[in-house]
């Protein structure tokens, strides 16, 4: 692992009376792929959302590139997410009215890129992920695997430094899931992006450089899968 890019220190987050995170601490290196695993309700997704700056923790610190993410305004966190982070969710969550290519181009349009250039980048990413044949299809016409490839392209099109993936293969069959995961990790590694991968599936976690187990809102570090292999 090179230098620490993203870190959480004693992060706490509650929803009403339910404490989702009770002092989670972890760090993620530049270009590192980290899997966050744990049982249902252990706070995996909440941790991911805190690290991505979508949620603001009630206590503790989240640092990105040496900056306090939790102290940034909503506006600054939004800008940071748009420019530096990519997000892939379990169900793709694409905009249903836009074509696949338009969905991928959307983050670039928000960054004031020229329309033609944004569409060219979108098509290039779709081609790279093997989804160029569905570029003009709408999300409703895509299979689960195709929709996830489009979502990955959307997450990568801005050249993010960190990709957050919340159960990206959770709604897919094994074969489609493997393809989507390979596409995500290959593209992320080629772009030198770090990946935070939330999953409950050990097969998925095995693809990561390092695994972090979360239980009852607290991180339990374990040995890396690579290190455990003789």
């Amino acid at each position: 692992m090179t230098g620490v890019l993203l870190a959480a220190h004693a992060v706490r987050k509650a929803f009403g009376r339910t404490e989702a995170l009770r002092g989670a601490t972890l760090s993620i290196g530049d270009g590192e792929v980290v899997a966050v695993t744990g049982p249902s309700g252990s706070g995996k997704s909440t941790l991911l959302m805190c690290l991505a700056g979508v949620l603001r923790p009630e206590a503790g610190r989240v640092e990105y590139g040496g900056r306090r993410l939790d102290e940034l305004s909503e506006r600054d966190r939004t800008r940071l997410r748009r420019r530096e982070f990519g997000l892939v969710l379990q169900f793709g969550q694409l905009v249903p009215e836009l074509t696949a290519a338009q969905n991928v181009a959307l983050p670039l349009l928000f960054e004031r890129h020229e329309r033609a250039a944004a569409m060219r980048s979108a098509l290039a990413w779709l081609e790279r992920l093997g989804a160029d044949d569905v570029a003009s299809a709408r999300p409703g016409e895509l299979s689960g695997g195709e929709a996830q490839r489009v979502a990955i392209a959307r997450a990568l099109v801005t050249g993010p430094r960190v990709i957050f993936a919340d159960e990206p293969t959770g709604a897919l069959d094994t074969v489609s899931g493997d393809r989507v995961l390979n596409a995500l990790l290959t593209a992320a590694r080629a772009s030198y992006a770090s990946v935070v991968l939330v999953t409950h599936d050990n097969r998925v976690a095995a693809h990561a450089d390092r695994e972090i187990v979360l239980r009852d809102g607290v991180v339990e570090p374990v040995a890396s899968p690579a290190a455990a292999t003789p």
């Binding site: 905009v95 009215e97 709408r138």
Partner: protein, 435 residues
């Protein structure tokens, strides 16, 4: 069945019930005013404003009052659709519990009938209030008769009729939905809208053209009212096509992400937003017509009748526009709840709430502003064709067009601001975890 219906109505939430009840109350109140005006003798016992008091002008006044029901009914249509997703889940659960498709349709009707019937009865109170405010001693310009009132059986017909109308609108709003025990499916989306409304406009143009052939005065009045009604229907029917074409035009050219989002929503489903914006076309049509005729009419005479009449038209249009704000706000809220998953994902990806609001504004504006412009131009052409155009009136017409579009812009702004809590709710992280 009624008990289940009551439970479902309550589960639908108070905002929906209040909106449905409020709309039917307004429609009932207005129709009772119409009945009261129609019951007036040739020589009324009281001193009413000439638009109501003079038998020759009453037809137009009752027509205009009845037309004011159109924006209220469009708001009712939107209100019925409020909370659609949650209601459909409840109905699917009932199907799973053994309810037949007929039972589900009946329950859907009961859900609307209950608040609609309460609203219709409350409409008698609205009529009483209008009578007090616009017909009593306090009123400077008396518009509602107090010497006559609708008979009890006429009230009953109006109340039952408006309740039935509410139920019919409710059934119309859910006609494309098929509820099965495993959930809700929608019948195949209809093809892009076609400009069939233009046929109605052609019919109306034909009506206006016959006025040049020297028809008797009473027939001419009937033709004018019929032609105006058909023109309003025409612009309302054309609204989806206008919205679709304007969105397609923008989608093929814009690099703005908010416009891309807004236009793509309309292209995918032009009818909901166009229905919400359709009343704007009717309002602009009347505004355009009034702007065309106002200057020559006011120049010809010092009689305050004309000035008061035009001020009344302006007041009525503003009331209608307020109802349109409600319709647009309800549409916007429902649209946000429908799309909450993709909106939450966009927020997580770095789209700000302000950008979401701009997309919401653009979606309504792309439909409403062209419809308003078309309405105002049609109103101007329809009455301008009768020979009312002078250099001064042309300037007033342009001012009317600008003012109409400005007020529509303001109406959209108010509607989007009213839905700000729904935007926040739609961007919630919770929405990311649902299928």
């Amino acid at each position: 069945m009624i008990r289940v219906g009551v439970t479902l109505t309550r589960a639908g939430g108070w905002p929906r019930m209040l909106l449905v009840g409020g709309c039917t109350a307004v429609v009932t109140g207005l129709l009772l005013v119409v009945v009261a005006i129609l019951r007036l003798p040739a020589e009324p016992a009281e001193r009413l404003f000439a638009l109501v008091g003079e038998p020759g002008l009453r037809g137009g006044t009752t027509f205009a009052t009845a037309m004011l029901c159109v924006p209220a009914l469009l708001l009712l249509y939107q209100a019925v659709r409020l909370g659609t997703a949650a209601r459909e889940r409840r109905l699917a659960a009932l199907r799973l519990a053994g309810a037949t498709p007929g039972d589900v349709r009946a329950l859907g009707a009961v859900e609307v009938a209950l608040p609609a019937s309460v609203g219709s009865v409350a409409g008698i109170g609205v009529y009483g209030l209008l009578r007090l405010v616009l017909g009593g001693e306090l009123a400077e310009v008396r518009l509602v008769p107090t010497s006559v009132a609708p008979a009890w059986w006429q009230m009953l017909i109006v109340v039952v009729g408006v309740t039935g109308l509410g139920v019919a609108v409710g059934l119309l709003a859910s006609r494309r939905v098929v509820v099965t025990p495993l959930g809700v499916t929608r019948r195949e989306a209809p093809p892009p809208p076609r400009p069939w409304g233009a046929l109605l406009l052609a019919v109306a143009a034909g009506g206006f053209a016959t006025l040049r052939t020297g028809v008797p005065r009473q027939v001419a009045y009937a033709i004018v009212f019929a032609a105006i009604a058909v023109t309003v229907l025409g612009i309302v029917s054309l609204a989806p096509w206008i919205a679709y074409r304007s969105a397609r035009y923008v989608l093929n050219r814009t690099a703005s992400p908010t416009l891309t989002l807004a236009a793509s929503r309309i292209v995918a489903e032009p009818r909901p937003v166009a229905r919400a914006a359709a009343a704007v076309g009717g309002i602009a049509l009347v505004a355009g017509g009034a702007g065309t005729t106002a200057t020559p009419a006011l120049q010809q005479t010092d009689d305050p009748f004309y000035l008061v009449s035009y001020l009344l038209v302006a007041a009525v249009l503003l009331v209608a526009l307020v109802m349109v704000v409600g319709t647009l706000a309800v549409h916007a809220a429902e649209s946000l709840l429908d799309r909450k998953r993709s909106i939450a994902a966009l927020a997580a990806l770095g789209t700000s709430v302000q950008e979401m609001e701009r997309a919401q504004f653009a979606e309504i504006a792309l439909a409403a502003l062209p419809v308003a412009a078309a309405g105002a131009l049609l109103g101007t052409i329809a009455l301008g064709g009768l020979g009312f155009v002078t250099p001064l009136s042309a300037a007033v017409q342009l001012l009317t067009l600008a003012l109409t579009l400005g007020l529509v812009w303001l109406a959209i702004e108010l509607a989007v601001r009213a839905t700000r809590p729904w935007v926040r709710r739609a961007t919630s992280v919770e929405n990311l975890r649902t299928a």
